[in-house]
Symmetry: C2
Subunit: 85 residues, 2 copies
């Protein structure tokens, strides 16, 4: 399992920034970069990393919660869910 290529703002794929970021984060999770139960970097850190506004990054996280890949706990962090359980 190779590492997920860095996020490329100009890559082809889903039209919307938040969706591309969600896909990219999902791939990083699937690749084991963020294992089950681990905490993701903070929203603001991720927003900086992906070079988007906070709201846009939050949209991406929202997408991941919708897919059941993460759970968000206020003032605590965003955590990778364990497949199944």
């Amino acid at each position: 399992m190779t590492a997920v290529p860095p996020y490329d703002p100009k890559a082809t794929g889903p039209s919307y920034v938040y969706m591309r970021i969600a896909d990219h984060l999902a791939a990083r999770i699937a690749a084991g970069e963020f294992p089950p139960d681990s905490m993701l970097p903070g929203e603001r850190a991720l927003a900086e990393e992906y070079e988007v506004a906070l709201n846009t990054l939050r949209r991406a996280i929202e997408e991941l919660t919708g897919r059941g890949l993460v759970v968000v706990l206020r003032a605590k962090g965003t955590f990778v869910t364990r497949p199944e359980g």
Copy 2:
């Protein structure tokens, strides 16, 4: 069934603007002001009426969709769902 009192930005209740607006809109729906299958006023109109930013009004609508009270159809409008089916 009396009419829903006008929205009061300073009233007590849920702390968040979007939640108070969602509750207010839900009451208007329940009161029959917006009957099943009817279209709500546009987002911008409602944002003006409630004196909030567009994003905040949209957050309130999101809350209503979560409650199953409305469905949002892009470029068509926001429609009141029919209780049960």
